[in-house]
C-alpha cells in the first residue's frame, strides 16, 4: 500500500499533466479555427483547378502520350511510383499521423505486390521518422511540415512541387500520388490518396461532352500553357492539402488532448479516493492503538 506522501505526489503529478493537456487543447482549438478558415478558403481554387486539369487530361487522351509533357500523361511507363506522404512535424495528435502512415504502408504493399518500385517523399517529421525506419532505402527526402506558420504553407507547397516536377521530368518516377488527411471536421480526418501524375481523367459517361473536350484550343500554344499550368496545379494541390492537413492536425490534437484531460481527471478522482481511504485507515489504526494501550493499563 502506497504511503500518503507517495499518493500526494502522484495526485500533484497527474494534476500538472492535466493542466498541460488542457492548455494544449485550448491552443489547438484556437489554432484550429484559423486553420479551418484557411483550409476552406483554399478549397474552391484547388477543386476548380482539379476540374480544369481533368478536362485537359480527358482532352489529351486521344493524343500520342510521347508528345505530351510527362506531368500530364506520365512518362509512358508505369514502374516507379512516388508517394508524397503528408504528416505533421509534431505528435500528440492521437491517430493523426499513424492513420496516414498505415495508409501509406498498405499502398506500398499493394504497389510492391504488383511488381512496382516505390519511392517515398514524406513531409513532416513524424511520418518521415516512421517511414525511414520501415523503408530506409525508399525514402527520397524528408521535408519539414511547419504547419503552424501559415506563411510557410505556400513556400512548402512550391518546394514540394519543384521536387516532384524535377523527379517526373527527369524520368526518375513515372507516377505520383499524394497521401494526406482530408479535413472533414474537428473530430474526423479521412486519410486519402490523391493521384497527381499522370493527371486523373474525369469520369464522364457523357459522349457528347467528351467529343467537346477533344477539341480544346490553347492560347498561347499548348506547350507553353501546359508548362505553366501543370507545375502550378501541383503547387495548388499541395498547398490545399497542407492547409487541410494542418487543420486536421489541430482538430486531431484537440480531440486527443480533450480525451487526455478527461482521463487525467478520472485518475485524479481515483487517486483522491485512495488517498482519503488510506488517511482514514491510518487514523483508525492510531485510535485502535491508543485505545488498546489505554485498556492494557
Amino acid at each position: 500500500m502506497p504511503s500518503l506522501k507517495e499518493l500526494r505526489g502522484r495526485i500533484t503529478g497527474v494534476k500538472s499533466t492535466r493542466k498541460i493537456t488542457g492548455a494544449m487543447k485550448m491552443v489547438a482549438a484556437s489554432k484550429l479555427r484559423r486553420a479551418q478558415i484557411e483550409a476552406e478558403a483554399a478549397r474552391p481554387y484547388a477543386a476548380t483547378m482539379r476540374r480544369m486539369m481533368s478536362e485537359v487530361a480527358t482532352a489529351s487522351q486521344g493524343m500520342d502520350p510521347s508528345t505530351l509533357p510527362p506531368l500530364l500523361a506520365g512518362t509512358g511507363r508505369d514502374d516507379v511510383h512516388l508517394l508524397v506522404v503528408l504528416t505533421s512535424d509534431r505528435g500528440l495528435a492521437g491517430g493523426f499521423n499513424a492513420n496516414i502512415v498505415r495508409l501509406a504502408r498498405r499502398k506500398i504493399g499493394a504497389l510492391k505486390a504488383e511488381g512496382k518500385t516505390v519511392r517515398l517523399l514524406p513531409v513532416g517529421r513524424k511520418g518521415g521518422e516512421v517511414l525511414k525506419r520501415y523503408y530506409p532505402d525508399l525514402v527520397v527526402d524528408v521535408l519539414h511540415n511547419d504547419a503552424g506558420a501559415q506563411e510557410g504553407a505556400y513556400s512548402l507547397a512550391q518546394k514540394l512541387a519543384k521536387q516532384v516536377v524535377a523527379l517526373v521530368n527527369s524520368g526518375e518516377v513515372d507516377a505520383c500520388s499524394l497521401l494526406r488527411n482530408r479535413f472533414v471536421n474537428a473530430m474526423t480526418q479521412l486519410p486519402e490518396a490523391l493521384g497527381l501524375v499522370p493527371l486523373p481523367v474525369a469520369k464522364n459517361d457523357n459522349a457528347e461532352k467528351s467529343a467537346d473536350a477533344a477539341s480544346y484550343e490553347f492560347e498561347p500554344d499548348e506547350a507553353t500553357l501546359l508548362t505553366q499550368l501543370l507545375p502550378r496545379n501541383l503547387e495548388v494541390q499541395f498547398y490545399s492539402a497542407i492547409l487541410e492537413s494542418a487543420a486536421g492536425e489541430h482538430g486531431a490534437r484537440m480531440t486527443a488532448m480533450d480525451n487526455a484531460s478527461r482521463n487525467a481527471s478520472k485518475a485524479i478522482e481515483r487517486l483522491s479516493l485512495k488517498y482519503n481511504r488510506t488517511r482514514q485507515a491510518n487514523i483508525t489504526n492510531e485510535l485502535i492503538e491508543i485505545i488498546s494501550g489505554a485498556e492494557a493499563v
Binding site: 474552391p44 481554387y45 480544369m52 467537346d212 492560347e219 498561347p220
Partner: protein, 143 residues
C-alpha cells in the same frame, strides 16, 4: 442559354453567377466567352475581367494573371489575385513596379523561369496603374 461565370482566387470564390458574356484579358489579347463557344484554355495577363448580362456590364474586377477555362456553357477563371476596381491604387502599384524593375536588373539572363515570372508581375503592375488611373477619371468605357 446563359453562361456560368466563375472567378476563383486562392483566397476564395469571388464570383459565381449566370451571365451572357465574359470578356477576359488573355495573354494574347482580350477574348470573350459566350455561350456555345468552342472550348479554349488560355493564360491571363493582368487586366480587367468584365461580365455582361443583357448587353449591360454587371461586374468588373481586376485580375493580376492566371488561367481561364472556357467551354460552351461555362467560363472559369483561376486568378492569381482578384481585386475590385475601387480597391486599386496607382501609387501602390507604382511602388511595386519600381521594386520589380530593380529585381529585374538583378536577375541573371540564364534564370529563365524567374525572368518569365517577373515579367508577368511587371505587366500586371503596369496594367494596375492604367486601370486605377482610368477608374479615377471615371473612364470605364475604355477599359
Amino acid at each position: 442559354m446563359p453562361l456560368r461565370a466563375e472567378i476563383v482566387s486562392p483566397e476564395k470564390r469571388h464570383i459565381d453567377r449566370q451571365v451572357d458574356m465574359v470578356v477576359v484579358p488573355g495573354s494574347e489579347g482580350n477574348i470573350a466567352a459566350m455561350p456555345g463557344r468552342a472550348p479554349v484554355m488560355l493564360q491571363l495577363r493582368g487586366g480587367v475581367v468584365t461580365l455582361y448580362k443583357d448587353d449591360q456590364v454587371v461586374e468588373r474586377c481586376f485580375v493580376s494573371g492566371g488561367f481561364v477555362d472556357m467551354t460552351a456553357d461555362h467560363c472559369t477563371i483561376l486568378a492569381d489575385s482578384v481585386r475590385a476596381l475601387e480597391d486599386l491604387s496607382a501609387d501602390d502599384a507604382r511602388q511595386t513596379l519600381e521594386e520589380l524593375e530593380s529585381q529585374w536588373t538583378n536577375v541573371g539572363p540564364d534564370d529563365h523561369e524567374h525572368r518569365v515570372s517577373l515579367s508577368k508581375q511587371i505587366q500586371a503592375a503596369r496594367a494596375e496603374i492604367i486601370v486605377a488611373e482610368k477608374f479615377q477619371q471615371n473612364d470605364l468605357k475604355s477599359l
